[in-house]
Symmetry: C2
Subunit: 249 residues, 2 copies
């Protein structure tokens, strides 16, 4: 009987070419599959709640994999963390029913995008914050974020709207902007996101905060359903996949 395991993963994406296995590239999925094989003796495919791009981090990505024979979860977790580099950590691991699927069972995903709004980024944060030197007007950003919340056609906020298999309409349950001193956190929560959507929302909100666009531009850009230069993709290092929710978790 195969046994399915669910893992919660934290990783620093700096040195990885994103989640997905690719030939000759170091990827999160590739590393996990390598160490699962090393620790369990079995080749397993690891499925996540969704891919993260090159340089994107995760605080709590969720993934699952199957093994042909059951291993004690705690031993497996310690084994994996023992051989993984410290920039990938298995935060928890447990057996789940075979009906659980990291991607298809997920009901809510939350991303957070972090901006350091000031001239000097504290060195320990340099790989985890996008820097914006000039003061951002977070009130304008909040206004624009409100206009973007809810159910919309987000084609203008996808890096590749023509390749979105499930169309470009999504419901953003939360899009909030919080300043704490020099740090601005953007929180995006919803059932699903388009390709590079959070970084596109972040890129747009930074332009609003810097005064290059009015908050009202949010509505006209949404309505256009066209990707334009008004929506830049913010850099990967500020983005964290923050958590993934499942019906019973």
């Amino acid at each position: 009987m195969t046994t399915r395991y669910k893992m919660v993963l934290a990783y620093d994406g700096t040195l990885y070419s994103g989640w997905q296995v690719q030939p000759k590239r170091r990827t999160i999925q590739g590393e996990l599959e390598r160490v699962i094989r090393q620790v369990s003796g079995h080749k397993a495919r690891v499925h996540s709640s969704g891919r993260t791009d090159t340089g994107v981090h995760a605080r709590a990505q969720v993934a699952h994999f199957d093994l042909p024979e059951a291993m004690e979860a705690r031993r497996l977790l310690e084994g994996l963390n023992g051989v993984l580099d410290e920039d990938i950590r298995v935060a928890s691991l447990r057996r789940v029913p075979a009906t659980f699927h990291a991607r298809y069972s997920a009901v809510v995903k939350e991303y957070r995008y972090f901006i350091w709004n000031g001239p000097v980024v504290p060195p320990p944060l340099r790989l985890y914050r996008a820097q914006v030197r000039n003061p951002l007007d977070e009130k304008a950003m909040v206004k624009a974020a409100r206009a973007l919340s809810g159910r919309h056609d987000f084609a203008a906020f996808s890096a590749n709207p023509n390749r979105e298999v499930d169309g470009t309409v999504r419901r953003l349950d939360v899009l909030s902007v919080r300043r704490t001193g020099s740090e601005i956190a953007l929180i995006a929560r919803g059932e699903g996101f388009l390709y590079k959507m959070v970084r596109s929302l972040a890129g747009f909100l930074v332009r609003v905060g810097s005064g290059a666009l009015e908050p009202e531009a949010a509505k006209t850009i949404l309505r256009s359903a066209q990707r334009t230069a008004r929506v830049p993709t913010a850099e990967a290092k500020g983005l964290f996949l923050w958590r993934v929710r499942y019906p019973s978790s």
Copy 2:
């Protein structure tokens, strides 16, 4: 007329052999002197409030240096940050009277030592936290910290008591222990510290928190004025020079 500049510095000590210039080693002082020469065209010696050891970080180290001709402070700061690696940042820079001395004018120094008390260190913190897997009893640590606060002969908490030029008596104004979830922060504030004193205090407090020593051991160890194996030196990466105070700042 020479002009004296005071800098506040933040650095990630991971890749440096500490503060002090050494032949063939990458050091914080060495890097700063190199870039000051590059930006100003002048060779200057940089004096800090005190050395930090290999791998130790700084949130707000203070240093000064002299230039034979005045440069605009803002231009100098931007020039230095422009050529320094991102793991060293000049947070502020200003002209000060020649009577200011980063080391001799300092009246209070504060260090913070950070422990991640749990099985999994979040990857972005892995270079800035000492990990202790088993639960620490922070109440016992608080008790021991209280016994260590105040004016004492700290010879037992110096890595090299015989080489302390100013004797081994110091006044610890503050030694506190604060837990926030899995994180424990030790805060040490005082006029001056012995060699590796904060890491020795941290090493001792971790032993108390893990139950290997009673809080009451603090008093007997102080009284012994002897360095023994009961006081290990906690690893460098958890330590930050947090701030330095001067009479008028």
